[in-house]
Symmetry: C2
Subunit: 201 residues, 2 copies
DNA sequence: CGACCATTTGATGGGCTTCAAGAGCAGTGG
DNA sequence: CCACTGCTCTTGAAGCCCATCAAATGGTCG
């Protein structure tokens, strides 16, 4: 599963320190909920998802991580499980070599708070639109965006059912806000109306 | 408004450093959303609430903080506003004297994730029950719990309306799970059924 | 008392979940 | 090549939960 390459140079912002470049296949588990949190990661390429399982058995996808994103910056134990959604290349940094930068932690905290805002008092349309816009910002600016995650992943991320996600996606397509090429590729046809749907008036 | 006392000793876990003890009245603003985050705080006594305003004008109460809780550990700028819900005594630590412990940050991150879990796929009963149980754990173990926050605060914290909060509270009382003494005091009559309502089967 | 505010309670409607079924697609094997 | 299987995704119909609209109650303060 994991192929390790020798020492690699971490990206800017991260002080020089031992960082191992790790290569993983689609579906590989990076760490599990409850494991001792002895490393934190930065995505070089590919997409990672983190999720946790709730008391009632529901799955909560807490985030999708792209190039440059940091995850697993918890202290002590991981609060979530991390999996490779596509083949990925990661930089792995040991906590022993210094705590995860408080910069990384507070970035995580900020995104957690943004994520909370997504839930409160927001309709399915608002959630999905906000999600699509966030994804659209991620890679290059092309209006064609790739959704490496399943509908089920999106639903578990947005706190909806796959039915509602699918219905809302179809609704956006019907109204020419997006067009659905296939399951994993959509085009944003009208950024303005999409951001309007997201509630950013 | 703020009465500052000389140097005080921070609580365990926090290395010796300059910490100012601050005393505030009910309603005082501790910091505002967007302010430069130059201090972080630990509650000595009283209750603090943090909130942010969303694009649509809605208010989101992101947390209530009791004795020993840390808030305002953001880097750069505060993401939320903090207010004294009751008269409070706080320890105030400057960021300049070292970053907020990554311990404090990751505690904040953990509680943010717990908070997210509260939102996803949970009914009004589950949310309110979980909230009441969290509050009940906060001070001493007495079954009488105090709610220094208004129904509106609770609603904005749980992503519900005051109507639903009130209705659900009445429903719990009708079913003898809690009893409502007055607006700010309730008793938990049946912890087991309350935790059951919270979804912790 | 009377004004004001927070809270409670009732009635109605809308949005999302749930239940149910069908469509599209990859893999397997005859 | 084509059934057959299993999966994800889509779509339709019905019901429930919560927001909304509306009004009554209770407490505080002048």
């Amino acid at each position: 599963m994991a192929r390790l390459s020798p020492i690699a140079e971490p990206s800017e912002g991260v002080p020089a320190r031992a960082a191992l470049q790790v290569q993983l296949d689609k579906g590989d588990v990076i760490f599990r909920q409850g494991d001792r949190a002895d490393h934190w990661y930065e995505v070089v390429s590919g997409v990672v998802r983190t999720c946790r399982f709730l008391a009632d058995g529901h799955r909560q996808i807490t985030g999708f991580f792209y190039n440059g994103d940091v995850f697993g910056a918890e202290a002590r134990r991981y609060q979530v499980m991390a999996e490779a959604l596509t083949p990925v290349v990661l930089l792995r940094c040991a906590h022993s070599e210094g705590p995860p930068q408080s910069a990384a932690l507070s970035r995580a905290l900020t995104s957690a708070q943004d994520y909370i805002a997504l839930f409160a008092h927001r309709t399915a349309s608002e959630r999905l639109a906000a999600f699509l816009m966030a994804i659209a910002r991620k890679p290059r600016g092309a209006q064609q965006i790739e959704l490496p995650m399943s509908r089920s992943d999106i639903a578990d991320h947005l706190g909806l059912t796959i039915h509602t996600v699918s219905r809302t996606m179809s609704d956006f397509a019907r109204r020419q806000i997006i067009s659905v090429e296939d399951r994993t590729h959509i085009c944003v046809l009208d950024h303005e109306r999409l951001s309007c749907e997201a509630g950013e008036l």
